[in-house]
Symmetry: D3
Subunit: 316 residues, 6 copies
């Protein structure tokens, strides 16, 4: 405990994990960015615009070292910075998507990795648009209790990946939707997702085969391609993460969610978003704290991937 305390800044502020605040990121850095937009939410439980603030606040309860992946501090050497929140306009979809895309693109152009915190599931679309400009072979791993690839012409939380497929932002044949489960508003949700070219692994299949097997399949298909990981907090069971827009009962135990994420070790993560954290529906900030744990895992995964793919050479 001593070491950390001694090396800590004498005065602290509310960035994620106390990392330095910055206005831009440089090559190799990980840039935490808040995307406080939730007006793509047509469901009852809107409120994820408060997600980034809660995420940062509860990161006081999360620690940086993580033996299951790496017993090191991912913040070492100033490798993580916090860029604050993108200034979106509530209810005004167009300008908000543009502002988010522009902010992420600045990060991506600098060869830094954006670690985005939503906001609802629409925020993933501008992230993918920004990444796609830089990584033409981009692959998606989407972990969520819903596929968010429903039919429809709108941009909302249910059509993010319909749009992404139609805009050609990602290689859908090598992209995964993992964990769909539960009750649905429409019939044929899974079929439409597959019709767009995606690989769909429902939650039930994850339970049967186990998270390690799923992760192995993902690694096999994805290979060395650049990957964006989109993690919807409602993949957790509501007993663990009540503070989401669409709680969906029957999710895996938290430890198995971590197993699945651990299994992505070695992939070349060029972007991550954690979305749908809805603080007004949370209980004692626990879902926000859990999102922080996911973010620590992401920090380690990104850095382990960077180590691997730097050695494997300049494939980009």
């Amino acid at each position: 405990m001593t070491d950390y305390l001694e090396s800590a800044p004498r005065m602290r502020l509310g960035t994620f994990l106390g990392v330095p605040q910055a206005t831009s990121a440089s090559a190799g850095q990980i840039a935490v960015i808040g995307l406080p937009f939730d007006c793509g939410t047509h469901a009852t439980r809107i409120g994820s615009r408060q997600g980034p603030a809660a995420f940062r606040a509860m990161s006081s309860e999360v620690r940086p070292f993580y033996p299951p992946l790496a017993d090191v501090d991912p913040r070492a050497g100033g490798r993580v910075v916090d860029l604050g929140d993108v200034d979106v306009v509530a209810s005004d979809l167009g300008p908000s998507l543009a502002a988010m895309e522009a902010a992420i693109h600045e990060v991506v152009k600098a060869d830094a990795v954006p670690l985005c915190v939503g906001g609802d599931g629409t925020v993933t679309l501008p992230v993918l648009r920004a990444l796609a400009k830089r990584y033409p072979e981009l692959v998606l791993i989407h972990i969520d209790a819903h596929t968010d690839a429903y039919p429809g012409e709108d941009v909302n939380t249910g059509t993010t990946f319909t749009r992404a497929a139609q805009e050609g932002l990602i290689d859908t044949r090598r992209s995964f939707h993992i964990g769909a489960r539960g009750t649905m508003l429409v019939a044929g949700a899974y079929d439409h997702t597959r019709a767009l070219g995606y690989r769909l692994i429902p939650g039930e299949e994850v339970r049967k085969r186990g998270p390690e097997a799923i992760a192995a399949e993902v690694r096999e298909v994805v290979g060395t391609r650049p990957v964006h990981l989109s993690f919807d907090m409602d993949y957790f069971d509501p007993s663990a993460a009540p503070g989401v827009a669409t709680p969906t009962w029957g999710g895996p135990p938290v430890a198995e969610v971590f197993d699945l994420l651990h299994g992505l070790k070695g992939l070349d993560l060029v972007g991550v978003d954690i979305n749908t954290l809805s603080p007004p529906h949370d209980v004692q900030g626990m879902s926000a704290m859990l999102a922080g744990h996911v973010a620590v895992i992401a920090l380690h995964l990104i850095q382990l991937g960077q180590a691997e793919h730097r050695l494997n050479a300049g494939h980009r």
Copy 2:
């Protein structure tokens, strides 16, 4: 207690105060209508789309007889019906405003009185549009910790009454904003409200002169004109009503809010809306229950006004 229980329907459902569900209202009736729209909220605490549901649910804790105004049951003779919620589209302002206006207009055309429950402060605009078609001399009484008459070209919770004035929906010189107080996002908020022609009585003035004096002034100015009462739940102090979008400290004790409302007795209320109830930010449903109490007062005020103005003849 006996009487009420005996006359109650054997099976009950979740309408406001257990009144009958209906699809339309007839002359003289009061029609409860939910307006679950909140995407005019640019502030942090969005969520009033859940307002109508919470309002109906907590009405189980509110009773109909009200000695301070009338020791009678306002539901008697089927005079109150519940029309359910208007089917708005989240984040899509135009169609939502149109749908709300159309639904309210049906009620107004039938000479029934809409008792609307928001939703955020934008929902008052379609209500006024609907009423203005029927009542050219319409007057507004707006009770709120904010004037919602800020500069700007947008339709959002801050510009409802800027729009209403510019569209000529109401007689601004006889219309009141009562209760503005607290911290503000911009300078000159009060001046702009007055520049639109409105009468502004800040909360501080209410405290000094007392609610009875304020109500007397209002009655004097309004006279026999048709009135819409728009009540924002944040007029209450946050100690009483935490479940609102913009809690504003320093409000009056609840009993004095009731005094102010009681003082409107005799006015010809042709419309009422209660807005900005934000259930995800509420505590134990208490703000929703308080909104129900305001609605019971409104039921009595409307009926007392109807009794008076029916005797006073067909001024419409």
Copy 3:
């Protein structure tokens, strides 16, 4: 999403899943009925009288299509109606039991299936009394952390199935108590249950054999007999469902509870009750929402059973 929204009524009210309100049900329909009685609760945490209201309110977060059983809308064709709550008298057991039995019997007589929501565990008794008149071969599947078959002459939440056995309402030798676990107020609780003729499968056995094996045994024993499913919300672990009268730690993960229920597919369910939801002890309405998920499963199970047993002919 489009389809559902388009076909939805323009105005909505607080019935379960938005189904039509009705005053009676016809053959083949499923009738949702609230039984807001909790004065059989001798334990500390009384409050399940608020269960039906919370259940309906939180059904806004549950969807109708359910791929694990059937990717169809069980409400299609008006097959589900909501009859509201039976008008019980708090603390007056006799008249309340009678009122509940009469209301359920009307439904049963019409060859509709009651889907009852409590209320505490005593509400199952009048449901069984009503069903027994119509189905002499009635079998019970009781899923609960307690057997509620304790010794005693009283009618309370602990003696419901002692009474049911002694009154001969069900075929105890083919009836199951599944899931008893945890700490107990008295010794010999399991022995007494078995002495009444019931089959008892403690929670520990469910964990060891797995829910699929248990369900297979149940299907084997029950066969084509008419079944009442009584589901106590405290079967869930308190981490998932804190809002119950007697939280009992050590329950199965939610997904395994669903597995168990899925395994009842094909049985001829002629009645269902979901009880012991105690909203004042709930957290953010999550237990109520979970009860809604159980109800959606029940809707599908009932309809799948109807399809099967209609084909198999008029065995009643």
Copy 4:
């Protein structure tokens, strides 16, 4: 702080204010007694059976010295003991009323003063029955947002003082109901209370005349007669005490409630009950803590009355 800590027992348990646990009380002592019965509650929010436990637990946040009345420790000399809870039977009114009456009567017989904590408003009836045997001239001061003197033959929270009047337990012409306000379930509630002989001072009158004037009137009418003070926690505004069965908006500020109670100084209090604390509907235990403050005031009022009436001689 030192003094108290030094004189405190080395080990502490959960009695009210840490007073000694006892099984009986002796002359002049004040006996704290829990009455965990709430099945006289016909309203939605049952749960005051948990009141005594919460009351004791939150007394850790209340202190004994009270400058507005007496800057002394009322516990000094072992003058306060805690007898624990009476063992009532949930839902079984008759035996429960008998058990409560018997337990209180033991205390009263010993010339000790019962300080009872409910439980719902029915618990006042057995307290009055026990006191009436000892004090034929008993007078009631009932402070409550409701008169609980409604018509009806039942024993429930709404008829306690109808029963008390009809059984002749108190001198109704010198007994007060102070503070009725708000919405009502039936018409004529005030008239019926007065028809029973009671003095009724509605909350509105308290607001206009002020608590000091009301207290003066009470002292004038009551004189040296033995008094039972029944305090319903819903007399507080729900902003202060949400944890009650029937929250009733428009109550006085807490400081004015204290003023009213302080004004009872000098009366000969022979019994006190504080009822209707409903912990499952409370927020952070604040209503329970407030009940503890009322109890400290009661301790001082009782002892100040004892001092006065001991000097004034053996009027009993």
Copy 5:
């Protein structure tokens, strides 16, 4: 609204009111500083170490313009900065007091004004120690439900102002304790406070004379001397601010607390602390939001005082 949004930084972080983060302050600036120390709390409800974080987080709900004092933005011209939290050591009083004093002294030396947020009531001691070095004529205005000037040799929340008097940090004869009320742990608390030379105005006196009269007396006595304002959040009634260490019922309405503070306009405030905000005991962050409102008032009071005393010349 437009102006503010346009001038806002494109990306935001969690400082108080979004002001710039800084590591030091310059002359005339106001420096927000968190003092997350709470181990001077001997009472049950420890937790104010989480105060600064909650204070900053909830400042998203507070606005800068404040018509009752000044319709200007106090942040204009970079006049407010946020220095983050002092790095204290939990449970180690000595080093923590030293670290806080050193950090504040740096600010004071630079002729900036510290606006400190606790932490419990012990944090005021190091603030006074730092200020006393710079302002030999320092006067204290302490607004609190307790005097915190109890006997004892310890440094804890109850002896802060005993220590301050004995160390000669302030001119006690011109220093005020305003608002003591409620139940107490020891006898003679008020006498000891006065024996130290302080002026004591109990809460009861504030209620009778009114906040304006009290403020006038304070201004009269204090004159042009440099003032430290220490504001304990428990001065608010617990109905408004439950999230404190020692909730004390019977406080003034929030509007009257603001009146008292407004009355300090014109004083030369050289330091402010807001303490005893205990987030784990708060409800929906409302107490933290209220602390933010007090801080906005303080920002305006400081700047109005600076304007006045700069004109009145270089008395320092």
Copy 6:
């Protein structure tokens, strides 16, 4: 149910499970003792000083009979007493440790078994010091998401077992730390624990091998030696026990925690502590209730061990 109710005392107070209050314990008895000290907590979420009170209060929801271990009442024959809380001094580590050690030692000397409830993780140190005087061969089983055996010279929650090892209180080579997992503040935490001689079984290993296998290994190593069981509530996943100081995601399902504890059957438990229950961070008292369940398991384990080791003779 009848039996228990009939044999219950007529009046009850807030001891654990309603056992008798006592001031000392005799041979063979189990003595419940509260250790309300939390100033060894350097993390954000202090508050476990409120643990013992919440633990006792929520024991109303836990029952004594426990079929998985023994279908008997462990309270029978007065074998369990509640000694209340040790009177510690907040923030003053030295005297508090001494007071706790002295109180426990009295119990141990009398050949009773202390069942201690914290308080934070520092309270285990005085318990071990007291036990070590009586049991030179003492062995520790520490079940916790952290090893609390970090480097450092301080006494705080992170160094309890570093101190215990260095003071030679326990046989570290036969002592276990079970369940460490999650994110960490420093590197090398596991190595340091092992360097002190302890056996470390990380949570991941428990998941892989299963709780039965782990328990078997423990029994094998420990044999007939006297054992202290220290159970940190954060071993549970935060979805089950949010009310702890350092919630650590990824814990086992509650049922598997019970399996692990059941596996300790037969060991000679001479002391137990349950620590780190932090009520202000709890949700609806559920973590406190879960601690009560652990305590019931402990009561049975202790008595089963006593039965076994009394038969096996006087090895002490």
